[in-house]
């Protein structure tokens, strides 16, 4: 079964007629040529496919494309460009927050979404008092970024980068 859906991907309106089994990740990568989100596990276990979907971080391998008709999607390629990177991308460069780079677009989208969640007051496992406003501490960042795996082991630099970008 196929359906036609309309999306905005990195600011561009896109139309796709897709099999209802197609994940949002496969739609982006295989049909729309948007390969900034990566496929690392296809099971929502690694975070490499993370994008911002209507402003929130989402693992696109766990989302069916047809569930998101009308969605606005921002990938790492839409956050910034090589010449004009997003502040989080700039901080990843400054702190060498990656090696092979495969998890990196997901890490960066996740970091941007995570900071929004923190600012909205969402608590985490690392929040000392869940009734109080959480702060942008390294412990909070580490906890909230643990859905994004990095096998090169860049976590120390990822946390430093996000701390700097968080100000």
């Amino acid at each position: 079964m196929e359906m036609t859906i309309y999306l905005t991907v990195d600011g561009e309106p896109r139309t796709a007629t897709v099999d209802t089994r197609v994940t949002l990740l496969d739609l982006l990568r295989e049909r729309l040529g948007a390969t900034a989100p990566k496929k690392g596990c296809d099971h929502g276990q690694c975070g490499s496919c993370t994008v911002l979907l209507d402003g929130r971080r989402v693992t696109t391998c766990l989302a069916f494309a047809v569930q998101h008709d009308g969605a606005e999607i921002t990938t790492a390629a839409g956050l910034g460009t090589a010449g004009k990177p997003h502040p989080v991308q700039r901080a990843f460069l400054d702190h060498d927050g990656f090696q092979c780079g495969y998890c990196t677009p997901g890490q960066i989208c996740s970091a941007v979404g995570m900071l929004t969640e923190l600012d909205a007051g969402w608590p985490s496992h690392a929040t000392p008092d869940v009734a109080a406003r959480p702060e942008r501490t390294a412990d909070e960042i580490r906890e909230r970024m643990s859905g994004n795996l990095c096998r090169c082991g860049a976590y120390m630099n990822i946390v430093a980068a996000i701390e700097e970008a968080a100000g």
Partner: protein, 699 residues
Amino acid sequence: MTITTLREIGADHERRDGPAKVTGTAPYAAEHPFADAVYGHPVQASVARGLITSIDTVAAASVAGVLTVLTHENAERLASADDRELWVLQSPDVSFRGQFVALVVADSPEAAREAAELVGIGYDEYEHDVVLRADHPEFYTPEQVNPSFPADTQQGDPGAALTTAAVSVDATYTTPAYHNNPMEPHTTVARWDPATGHLTLHDSTQSVHQVRDTLAPLFGLATGQVSVIAPHVGGGFGSKGPPHAHDVLACLAARAVPGRDVKLPLTRQMLFSVAGYRTPTIQRVQLGAQADGTLVAITHDVWEQTSRIKEFAEQTAVSTRMMYASPTRRTTHRLVALDVPVPSWMRAPGENPGMYAGECAMDELAIAVGMDPVELRIRNEPRTDPETGRPFSSRNLVACLRAGADRFGWASRDHVPSPKPGPDGLLRGTGVAASTYPVNRMPGSEAVIEVLPDGRFAVRIGAVDIGTGTWTALAQVAADALAVSLDHIELQIGDTSLPHASVAGGSSGITTWGTAVWEAARALISTHGHLPAAGAGATGRAGANDAQQRYAMHAFGAQFVAVEVDQDTGEIRVPRSLGIFAAGRIVNPRTARSQFLGGMTMGLSTALWEHSTIDPVTGHYVNHDLAEYHIATCADIRGLEVGWIEEDDPHVNPMGTKGIGEIGIVGTAAAVANAVHNATGVRIRDLPITADKLLDAGL
């Protein structure tokens, strides 16, 4: 001859591929612009040993969009059966669970996957044996261990020395199977163009030339008929070193649907059976010493597994041959071939498991003697390589231990292992271990430098950047070799159309490729002077290093780890780790620090979380995904620090580099194990050190 003017080597540079990577625009294997791509999805054997007796592809072939279903009954015959791992779809034999037994090619990933599940395969299932055990009757001595070390060595009579030693340690350590799990699953995109007779692969590999040189003869092709392209690779850690079965599978598919790009991305789950892994090991270490800690005997006996179809003999005891002085010594390796997936390289094969056992045993000896374990290591520092008698080209283990101890605050450590509760009830302790890794130079690398019309230099070599920083560091080497600034270098790597390059493995990249680039620069300057005209070019080769016949060449390090252990739950946390390394000249401190940190992070993961569990009944790695195979997460890692000792080693290569991709992981697990023992009084000799083992041992 070495580089004398260091301007770019040693300078902190942002990764040149960084902007593309942080914006997600660096293309990995599956992400190049392919027109009209089709998709492969493999079928894997569901028995650990057996014979395929029937194959039903009717239902699979009838799925809309399916182009072909390949099995051993219809796949192209390969030209050579020498490498049975690569002898894919050639016979009905099943030698391990998860082996490829069919492949569906379809015009969408969904159709390929649906059809793959509909392929019906009947088996005669045979008894299998997938469990490594110390009393296995079929252990044998391999001819050599990876890559070409003798399986056994003996100096003097360690047995006799042990019986008269004032103090001795006799302990057996075990390590589980580990899987590399790079973030980019192994992916090959293959295209066969019958009109030109050319096979083109976009591959996620650590060596484009090794893939080409291995696959071309399998398909009866000349190497010039095969291209392999890999500008960016999402990690490898050894598992993308040699080509694996999926590379062959992708080519079989491409030849079956000519003119189409066949995308074959493996799933995360498939990697656990077809992309290599670290063998489990059983290691017995005996140390004998005088009352002052001076070693009189060292033995290190290793039992490990290989597969039935291909031997891989991990060189687990090799580091014991050169680490410490002792008048007597024995090292042995025994293998047993089981009905298991083919083991292969994983970050520091040999050194990683071997130094875990050896450095735990040294800690146990320090306690038995009543010495500071740092001082025990320094007491047994050899003046020359214990195995060959050659001097070390440079050896700064003692400097690493001293600098690390000073920075870590080691002087105040209580060396007696016992439960040490703090005010919060957590048990705290610290541990130390040494690291080492050899300086490897691979054969067969060549670089070409050409002066471009704008006066910059094109530096061409088929090297690969798997996250190590090659795009940046090798350009820095070229800049200093040519005595120009980094912005004058246009590095071209990751393609077999470039000069032949060795694998990005064995921490050999900069040593080998850098030497080739350096030689090309020398040739260019000697032929064309320091201001060569546009179009001038020269070639350089990384030949054998004669100095390796005169010197032992190794990098060293010392790792210090603090742990906190919850007395009630047995949970272990690592609030602080420090690694000090002496690994030759550091080309780019920014990317080098990342490599050391990354190695230590994977080392903590080795020590505390990772293990692959095989089901003896089915021969299946049951925890075959990232939810159940636990690698370090962001929340696990804090307080990692890295430092290094400046070395100026004139013997290793023109740059004075030793290779840093692997040494960071070596010794970390021992330092953790020693810290846990120090904190709790409980010695766990079986990795990973998990809460249940601590509680079972009486914590």
